[in-house]
Symmetry: C2
Subunit: 527 residues, 2 copies
Amino acid sequence: MAVAAPAASAMQSMTGADRLCDALLAHEVDVCFANPGTSEMHFVAALDRQPRMRCILGLFEGVVTGAADGYARMRDRPAATLLHLGPGLANGLANIHNARRAHSPMINVVGDHAVEHLPLDSPLTSDIDSLARPMSRWVKRIGDPTRIDLDVAEAWSQSMAPGISTLILPADMAWNEHVYRAPPARGRRLPQAPLQQETVARIGAAIRTKRRVVLLLTGAALREQALSIADGIRRSAGVEIYAQGANGRIERGRGRAPIAKLAMTHEIGGRMLQDVDMVVLIGAKEPVSFFAYPNRPGRLAPANCEIVRLAGPDQDLVQALEWLADEVDAPRAPVAVAPRAAAAPVASGALTVDMVNRLVAARLPEQAIVCDEALTSSGFFDLSYDAPPHDYLQITGGAIGIGIPMAAGAAVACPDRKVINLQADGSGMYTVQGLWTHARENLDVLTIVFSNRSYATLWGEMSKVGAQTPGRNAQRMLQLDQPELDWTKLAAGLGVESRRVTTASEFSRAFDAALGRRGPAVIEAMV
Amino acid sequence: MAVAAPAASAMQSMTGADRLCDALLAHEVDVCFANPGTSEMHFVAALDRQPRMRCILGLFEGVVTGAADGYARMRDRPAATLLHLGPGLANGLANIHNARRAHSPMINVVGDHAVEHLPLDSPLTSDIDSLARPMSRWVKRIGDPTRIDLDVAEAWSQSMAPGISTLILPADMAWNEHVYRAPPARGRRLPQAPLQQETVARIGAAIRTKRRVVLLLTGAALREQALSIADGIRRSAGVEIYAQGANGRIERGRGRAPIAKLAMTHEIGGRMLQDVDMVVLIGAKEPVSFFAYPNRPGRLAPANCEIVRLAGPDQDLVQALEWLADEVDAPRAPVAVAPRAAAAPVASGALTVDMVNRLVAARLPEQAIVCDEALTSSGFFDLSYDAPPHDYLQITGGAIGIGIPMAAGAAVACPDRKVINLQADGSGMYTVQGLWTHARENLDVLTIVFSNRSYATLWGEMSKVGAQTPGRNAQRMLQLDQPELDWTKLAAGLGVESRRVTTASEFSRAFDAALGRRGPAVIEAMV
């Protein structure tokens, strides 16, 4: 089989894989996180002929898709992923789920057997379409190689809606050659549903009649400009503003309007919404409990509270806030720079979760990107409103194993910014392979592992179900000791420098040292 | 919420989770590989009240499902898995896919949100049913807690058919209490489709007319007794016998009839079947190429070759062989003990893949269980026909990352036998977390990592697509150097003793030392 040269112009014969690659590049999709297999070798060959496409290998597909999510959160445009058949896609689904919940754009390319080979049901055959649908906004099996560019254009449009696009690429669609007579088609942004002026008026009326109104924000409403408008409404009209419980990205720190997250539990979130008359959704969903528990309501707002959707994640959230600000005559005053709440903590004594989070917030580099999968060791967010300006990325869909991959993607997206990944140990183990990608690409990521040697989240959950004293079987499901994980050795095995710290002063020194240089590092904090 | 005491008798109030646990135990499903989350806490509490149920934690769901597969291959009955919602299931799907291809029984219990919580679409919500179906034989969402035992009985029956059963357990089905008035129902074996005597006669006629006939075996047809019958047919009737390309388990070594595997490539497998007039499927599928390639047929048998299905994997394969033996008057002579083909290799000089495989075959402990995910470093199988009697388990569905988990499950199933896992490095990284379970449970597993620092399989595949000199992008997709993985550090980080060896004599000493003691160990062979 001849190999086509890359097509700089039209009228050239090239493989479907070459065309797919060109079509992605036509949409500025120029990063491909990948773990390819045989069925994707033509696509790899195509990437090879396109030096503009940056290929980044993950040693497991959960790394690949989590990295694509982190990239998209920082760039607001999709990376491509390259996945090997049904099992490769399946391995990536958990972090695709998180990306879906973050409203991240993503274009997955999933190789499949050649069309004639599929009915033979060879061992790696599975129903890829069915696996892809639950976590994708849009799924397309490429069936006409001469129209691959149109499929990519649609995948891009759907991903920018935003959402997950999954293209299934049968091997023969990739390897067959065709003469393409025009440059690849370009996708357009899908039209956004217009905002409803009457909804704005209704919310304005509620605010003016002194009813208790909460604005619940996510997505683009959590960027600096939007937050500033929301804060103006808050200050002038007396509403409360919250970020949704889990969000793709929040622009945060001094100069940005501080915002609290609405807790996703009945006990805390429900109390935050006590006596609220109206919750206004701005990109967000109706607030609900993360899990259900016996005899507790799943909805967090009171039963008589009005839930009003001003704008969905596929609408213009900044415009929604502007209209609402106009409606209630909110001034567009700059956000007052928040004063530092407290002096930087003294780094001495025992190492605690709180101490780590305080030190990180206090010494955060300007324009750092913070990835937060600390779970029960979280606490950074509440301390960070007056930290230096930074971006805050967190686990969104509850599928653990996002931290290390997301940090990789964010670092690829923003190579000049320090990425700090606050990582729970149990969750980190899900995609520990991602540290190798940190090393491989020399990414400027500092991973701080909160080593508590347990699925600490679940201890709390066990007590909620009534089993106050977990027995042997339960304990063995919740404890990660016996043997203890050693993150310094794991990191070293994957090519990343690492240090274990057991006191506050050790952490302080290790943290400062890591901030003082570029490149990947791990600090294992024994908390 | 009150916690029910375990029910020793009927007429007791207990949770649905307790009932589910009792129903599993009623089918002797007494091992549960698990990575639970909040929605499964009631099931964990139930396990706690049932010390008969052995719970084994995996730090990632691919470990959980791969271990259940290894267990089932050795025990011919299912273990349970406990998985957390859609992402937890998704993480386990790749090894469920392998289990499906191995015809392994398995019962997955996948927690879901409470029924009333599902429509609220909280962050961890996804379409679990759709995710489960492609890799399952049977999927059931538990909807009536008073009938959980019937659901488990059906799950068990379906799993023994054999296949994958997936039970979706909404949290409220687990936590609600009921009075169960009878012990759990017991499932029955599904009736097997009867064999067709006319098919046997047709095959017999072909054999007697000296047509070239191949018997293709898998599943139960690869156990000692069945192999002996097949070998009798081979010797007396002049047919050839092959194992399918990938199989769940082969009983192998001295005293067992040696059998070759049919290669799943056009080049080798196609040649093996050249001029064959009839392929008889005994549990096996029509032989096909693992992947498709341009201008090569996917079917391995010649176009005019008859494909005759004597028995499917859900039929009685031993009876099928017995009927065929009777048809052709094959004697039931014992298998001649194969002479040793060659003296044990001298362990000196450079460490090569072949040297490792020869040493392992020559010094294999009696009744060892060999797990083979060596991929391009394979070669053990061909050397092992005259090794001491052992069981041979291999990757079946092409979804890499089965070796370490499968070895764990096999060791749990057969605690008195040495398990040797021949592990490719790239594949091993997929579920490296499984080494922690080896340590946690003190499993007698020796993992030999063939460290070649590349996805070596794909180098061959690249050349098949015509890209003879992979460029920078392609190389970075295939090479695992930069940085090099250090398996000794990875193993140590997960609590497993390990040693790196670079010469044949070092390997020989490390191998002997590992055989001389019980418990988990890793040898990183730099080949």
